[in-house]
Point group: C2
Amino acid sequence: MRKRPYVCGLDAALDVIDGKWKVLIIWALNHQRCRFGELRRLVPGISEKVLVQQLRELEADGIVHREIYDVVPPKVEYSLTGLGGELNTALGPLGAWGKRRMAVLEEAGRHG
Amino acid sequence: MRKRPYVCGLDAALDVIDGKWKVLIIWALNHQRCRFGELRRLVPGISEKVLVQQLRELEADGIVHREIYDVVPPKVEYSLTGLGGELNTALGPLGAWGKRRMAVLEEAGRHG
DNA sequence: GTAAGTACGCACTTTTTTGTGCGTACTTGC
DNA sequence: GCAAGTACGCACAAAAAAGTGCGTACTTAC
């Protein structure tokens, strides 16, 4: 979407992940579909502007589904698509690697 | 190193990956240990400043090993550490996911 | 009637990241 | 003697990303 053509699959994957908060958003949506306001509370520290922005990008990339209910006050629900779920799964090993690294860092921190 | 504390393992992993060229560097080093100049040629488009910078960060994070030979002209060789190799492996599923996405995009491009 | 919540949009600033162009001290090849 | 290669360092510029503050049109709660 932003930097095509990609040189490899990893490149293509990292492009949709790119953004300070995207993995947190994906992670939150993997647990539950939710509304804009809920999501903002689930991702503490994010600004509304950036949340909208990153949701739009994730939607354009087919990771997130946006459902609008024509009611007042407005209601919109976000959820992961199938592709989004697969992405989340593909991130698993990376998360496990990072967890081991965190443990190592913590050990080093205790002795340093 | 840069944004600790991490909220989860994925956060910790993405932090060491963070940088426009880091995965390309890791990928190149996974195939062969190489010198600075070689690496620059293997990663076309990167500036020398940024290559040095990202190598230093990867070294500080324990992903890359830097070996200096005290000869003239200077010779330095970069290679992946064990941790770096594991990281590369952990990136596998993500790369596979991205590859599928690329195929889908290409299909869509042909019809759009 | 006033504040708060709904899901954003828009203009602007700040921060972060990346790129550009130059210099080093030395050797080899022409 | 002059260019090119070695592996960088440094000052600065450009670009990209994120954050800030304010406004919308409407409703419910107090």
